[in-house]
Symmetry: C2
Subunit: 701 residues, 2 copies
């Protein structure tokens, strides 16, 4: 790992986008600002507008978090097993565990409708920066400017929805430097088609997560319906006939969640010294508590499985980011880059006048943030997140009632009319709620609040209601009626009066906590978020002026294009090849004595002799991805599917703050392994046929 | 659990020792202040001086932490598997895992000598309060008084060692209210005789830990040697012929570690709001990191196993204490008790003059503590504990060299002449050190320091040496020579000059950190510990004056006597019987589908038909125990062994701050299960014969 850290350092230095040079295979590019020059220069490839539109409109974003793509003329959607796992878990019962056992609907009537799931497909992008920025007048304070702009954004979104019928969301890019209006086609009628057993999707479990070489069949298939019939999509991705080879140029189109690469040095320090340590404390705590809960019974283990995976996954990712931020060499490179940019600004009077004090004001807002953050977090942040589903339902009901009478543009964002549909899908979801799990989560949140604020803090005393955290959690969860969807609907319809009259213990608790939680949110938005947007907008302008408009914005859970090569790497003096083979999973299982999480799935043992051991299984590429990219298609120059992103290797975990190329890699399932196993392990030849079918000619391609 | 919390509350109220009533079965009593009255009144039992001496001198304290007892005429020692596990792990290799597989030496030549282990047997107790207190003069500041008393304690210990040849340690009781000189026979020649496989000792693993009903054979046997021959002890415990029955009076003699029952309300608040939250943060973090390390390979899992158990165990125990402290009803009872005591003090002018301001000064010292604690903890506290064995070795070498030229009474306690032998056993232990595990532990400690102090703190920058935490840990651990015992000895012999000249990276790091760590320790001792001792001594005097000398002191890892009844309890409306049977483990395994950690050990499967399923396996009693009591013998009125303490149930976890009787129980292995399994599962009939042999007449009994 010393070698690893050293090479990473060199990469950071060499690849900083701020240096203005072609940034290797770096970048999560906007579809309306693709990296045309570097692709042409390095790979001799020029993506046409049609090529881009086709790829864009074949991609979808999962409402449960994660990416996917439409891969057949009948609306088949490909994503990861771990993106579909929420759905798989919802379908599971004590008797029939779809997550563990897998699922295959050989005929359409066997497909399972996913009530809570919807998919967003990006249909158009419009730059509305001038209109949004213009709403904030010079004479206003940052908080006033921010409020004026939020209101303007809401108006733009509403107009757009009315004009186009498409879900319309403004995306804040470059930390406030640009505002783009994204319009989505939203597919709400989605059915589950196929998922392998978790043991093959997540082979090697947590120990192998973020490692390479890997042997995971992390895939899952859904189908979109429209008006009761399988969708005949305008665009879908064809399946590559030959698959990828070493050093091939490939592309990833997906929805990377969050990066912090353009953050100022002081902002990174804030993340390093405050945000990440507190986030890790939460994750360690929940991981241990979920493991303990899971240990009590097989049923508990089943219930908590996907949440536990998500916690473990975040924990590993954040550990990697923190490790990077604590490396004085990585921070040294960031400091040098910022110094250069600021020197360029200082040297130009016009620039200086525009960006004057932005860095300092941003740093000052971090001091404010530091004083609010622990309390803000203890009350669950903006969304009052207590890790409990029933508490979240109570919170939505209380806030929905309060916001209903407020003008749309002045509401809390998530209760605006444009977000109503999304909100209701979650709020009225009939997904079963396990009281034991709820008690565990809520007890943890109540204790965490007390640990953070002290056992005699008035808010803590109100929350505990005279009981210990666990006893109180039991009282709340056993006493609430909100597990019944009809009760939720009645309360929502009853509005503020119904909420005020409710004796439900969770509604009462949220009512008690909401004023302080809102006040903290308001302070946070006014004194931290608004200042941040304002300052970053200035810094972004300065950066555009110095470096040109050739950089990509930090990730925002919206559609981006990455590119790179299928490429192995050196580690501890040895070469890690780019591709693993299906035969490798049998070797790894033998080497680890078939002990969990390395045991072979039963179906694989049976299919062993039929399988072609030399079939490529997983491969790595230099594509620039991060959490949220899970389920993204990997396509070749022709735009055809050659793989399915599901992970990054451990060296890529620093990706949140810096792209590195020497060892950091994106990890994909090879399209050929999907076909081979669909046919020979899962008896799903029909599905393989659908994927490999020669498609009808594509519109716009 | 609502029921559980409610009954606990009632117990706390009813049983408070401060109420001055016979405190039910409460108490960890001093052997020189046994609970004669309550035993006589409640159970009609009067322990004779000989009965007490016999039990006292049959007990031993394990240097690795935990309790035990001598149980045969040939120096056989009984303790828990989880007390012996450090030793079992040391003997284990990748090929032969004693911890997992168990061990039995059928003949003396097969017994394994345990180099690092020693056992202390309490031989005499002397009250030296007057002499210690007298060393602190009225004119001195608390820090000066404390230093004078520490110096006097060191002189007393030294005199005693010289006069008796016995290891002599002054125990601070009642938070500084009393000082007793304990003299120990120390047995350093100890061999491993028998241990079952971990799967039977720790059946049900972490999920069942602290739960009841239980099915654990948590036992382990050693033998003491003296002058090359098996010890012929003056005292040893006989094996009960008939075993216990429901409601029998039983006794536990062992070494409870720490309780905080006599703490003031403000001190409990400090524990609740600062000490426990920070301790839990560390434990969650290490539990997750150790699980991750263990997941990478079977060998890693083996290496980290005992440390992981210890972390999980502490985590559960502290969670229980925090849950209790966060219960407003528990704290309410504490507040009421303190109010009564203080009212009594206020009402008596003489008392008031003596105890005036003690509570206030103690509270003020907690404010100081709060400002030092996070930094003190980040640097590892008094012992610079970084969770790494090699770092600890470097620390001992650096501090040993520095302390050698200081007068004995002024040294850091652990480097005094009287502690030299103990220190050297650890320092020169040839136990293998795994570099991978060391890197993991040290990377965690370095990151933890940075998270606590911020990435640009000067101490953090020195510690990281220009690298990320993991890269730095690799550099330190791969670069150190201290894994070689000969190198340690040479450095220790070379003294300060050798330390100053050393280029060993770990020695250099400790050299860099030691001045600040010492300065923090000094501040802590002067401004927190000294004030605490001073104030608690005053409060203890006041408590004696108000309530008489009938209370027991908080636990101090020294020998105590507890008593109670074999008694089941009610939970969720059903009765939990006191005793489980051997047949129960087979039922539990079937119910949990034999999935880890509920799978049956192979030897048990084979022995099933031979075993008498009705043999009592584990039982619970109302005896007052806590961590450190593990391995304590449970004896009957005759002083004969009927069981072996190994755990408390989940309701007992509040024991650190309050004894409760309604549901809290101590959990033991039944002596009859030990005999039954030694004979029928482990082919150790000879060992069973030795335990059940009619003993020679005992001296002093």
């Amino acid at each position: 790992m010393s070698n690893r850290a050293r090479s990473l350092f060199l990469s950071v230095l060499a690849l900083s986008a701020l240096a203005g040079r072609a940034p290797a295979d770096e970048g999560m590019w906007l579809f309306n600002k693709p990296p045309v020059e570097v692709l042409k220069k390095k790979y001799g490839f020029e993506p046409s507008a049609a090529w881009l539109e086709h790829l864009q409109k074949s991609c979808v974003r999962f409402s449960t978090g994660g990416s996917g793509s439409i891969v057949s003329a009948d609306g088949l959607v490909m994503t990861n097993h771990h993106v579909g796992s929420d759905v798989l878990q919802q379908f599971s019962t004590k008797e029939h565990d779809l997550l563990l056992d897998g699922f295959y609907a050989a005929t359409p009537d066997k497909e399972l409708p996913c009530d809570d799931l919807y998919l967003d497909c990006l249909w158009s992008i419009e730059d509305v920066t001038a209109r949004v920025m213009g709403a904030g007048k010079e004479s206003m304070s940052p908080a006033e400017k921010s409020a004026a702009r939020r209101s303007e954004m809401s108006a733009i979104e509403k107009e757009s929805l009315a004009a186009t019928g498409l879900k319309s969301e403004i995306v804040t890019l470059y930390q406030g430097g640009r505002y783009h209006l994204y319009r989505y086609k939203t597919y709400t009628d989605v059915k589950l088609v196929m998922a392998p057993e978790k043991q093959s999707a997540f082979y090697g479990g947590d120990p192998d997560n973020f490692e390479y070489p890997r042997y995971c069949l992390d895939m899952c298939f859904f189908r979109i319906y429209e008006n009761g019939k399988a969708l005949r999509p305008e665009h879908f991705l064809r399946w590559s006939k030959q698959g990828v080879a070493d050093q091939d140029l490939v592309f990833v189109a997906g929805h990377p969640g969050t990066t912090e690469r353009l953050k100022t040095v002081d902002d990174l320090r804030w993340v390093r010294d405050n945000v990440l340590p507190l986030a890790l404390q939460r994750l360690w705590r929940r991981e241990v508590q979920m493991q303990t809960f899971a240990g009590r019974s097989a049923e508990n283990a089943r219930l908590v499985e996907t949440d536990l995976f998500s916690v473990q996954n975040s924990r590993k990712a954040r550990t990697g980011t923190l490790e990077g931020l604590l490396d004085p060499r990585v921070m040294g490179a960031k400091i040098a880059a910022e110094r250069d940019l600021r020197a360029a600004v200082e040297a130009d009077p016009a620039l200086k006048a525009k960006a004057a004090g932005a860095w300092e004001r941003l740093s000052a807002s971090r001091t404010t943030a530091k004083s609010i953050y622990p309390r803000f977090l203890a009350l669950g942040g903006s969304g009052m997140n207590m890790g409990s589903r029933t508490f979240a339902i109570a919170k939505d009901l209380v806030r929905l009632a309060a916001e209903r009478d407020v003008a749309d543009g002045k509401r809390l964002r998530e209760y605006r009319d444009s977000a109503r549909k999304t909100l209701e899908i979650g709020l009225y979801s009939p997904a079963p709620v396990d009281r034991g799990m709820e008690i565990d989560a809520l007890a943890s949140a109540l204790s965490r609040m007390a640990e953070a604020l002290g056992g005699e803090d008035p808010t803590v005393l109100v929350s505990l209601g005279g009981k210990s955290p666990r006893a109180r959690a039991e009282e709340l969860v056993l006493g609430t009626q909100l597990i019944d969807v009809a009760v939720r609907k009645r309360l929502a319809e009853g509005g503020a009066a119904a909420i005020a009259a409710s004796t439900d213990p969770l509604i009462r608790l949220v009512r008690d906590l909401d004023p302080e939680a809102r006040a903290l949110r308001k302070r946070w938005e006014d004194e931290v978020d608004s200042v941040e947007r304002e300052c970053y907008a200035q810094i972004a302008d300065a950066r555009f002026a110095v470096l040109g408009d050739k950089t990509y914005p930090d990730a925002t859970f919206t559609l981006r294009l990455s590119f790179g090569q299928v490429l192995g790497y050196d580690e501890n003096g040895a070469r890690v090849p780019a591709t693993t083979r299906i035969g490798g999973i049998f070797e790894r299982s033998a080497e680890r004595k078939n002990v969990p999480p390395f045991e072979l799935p039963e179906k694989w043992v049976k299919a062993k002799s039929a399988l072609d051991a030399s079939t490529p299984f997983n491969f790595v590429s230099t594509c620039d991805i991060i959490g949220g990219n899970s389920g993204s298609p990997v396509v070749d120059r022709a735009g055809d599917v050659v793989g399915l992103i599901f992970d990054g290797n451990i060296q890529s975990l620093i990706g949140g703050i810096a792209y590195t190329e020497e060892q950091a890699r994106a990890v994909s399932v090879d399209s050929r392994a999907m076909i081979e196993t669909l046919r020979k392990v899962y008896g799903a030849g029909k599905l393989a046929d659908e994927l490999q079918a020669a498609p009808a000619p594509q519109s716009g391609n």
